[in-house]
Subunit: 126 residues, 2 copies
């Protein structure tokens, strides 16, 4: 598919898709036109990228992590790189922190919202 279709399928503006490519996160091949041609599997990949970005992970890290997130278990053996491992462990740690942090705050929000609702039961405005 071409960039417009991918943009529409993922909800990510074409501008951003080009940006992700520039940052080395996706690599569509080109038609004779020069048009970008995206494989189907990139839809998932783009969604993953968005999710990671929204979670506060910068593109640079995403680029290093992405190959590890597909993970067909076979891709691993090629590079027993200790630096990579360290980085992954660190990132996983950060993720875990963020998860528990978000959980806490989500629960706090829930409590607050419920308290609001108790204060103004149903839609009984003025």
């Amino acid at each position: 598919m071409r960039i417009g279709e991918l943009a529409q399928k993922t909800g990510v503006p074409a501008r951003m898709l080009r940006y992700y490519e520039e940052q080395g996160l996706i690599a569509p091949r080109r038609l004779q036109n020069g048009y970008r041609e995206y494989e189907d599997y990139l839809v998932h990949r783009v969604r993953k990228i968005r999710g990671l970005l929204d979670s506060g992970i910068p593109t640079r890290i995403i680029g290093d992590m992405l190959p590890c997130l597909n993970n067909t278990e076979a891709t691993v053996v090629a590079d027993p790189d200790p630096e990579l491992r360290e980085m992954l462990v660190e990132q996983r740690g950060k993720m875990t922190e963020r998860i528990s942090f978000l959980e806490q705050n989500r629960d706090a929000l829930t409590r607050y919202i419920e308290a609001m609702d108790r204060a103004v039961p149903a839609s009984a405005a003025s």
Copy 2:
């Protein structure tokens, strides 16, 4: 305490503490010097701000959310603002999304790391 001490306690550079103040997230009082004087409870607050920022929530939103995260259940009744409620529900939704997303990816990372470790058992380098 003054800005240097707070910076050191929270790990957040003094520059950032001034920035958060500029954004209305914290409001230290001033000494006759002009020096900022921070109450103890701001240590927690700053940590909370950092966590939210790291999780991809912008300062503007944080400013609106913060009062709702302390939540002594009594603070609520004052403002039965439906817009605020809507915003909170939306943010909670985003948080929930991010949580499950992060969980997924954390697990994927874990699998990958374990696979690496199986490929290079212990530290049996060359």
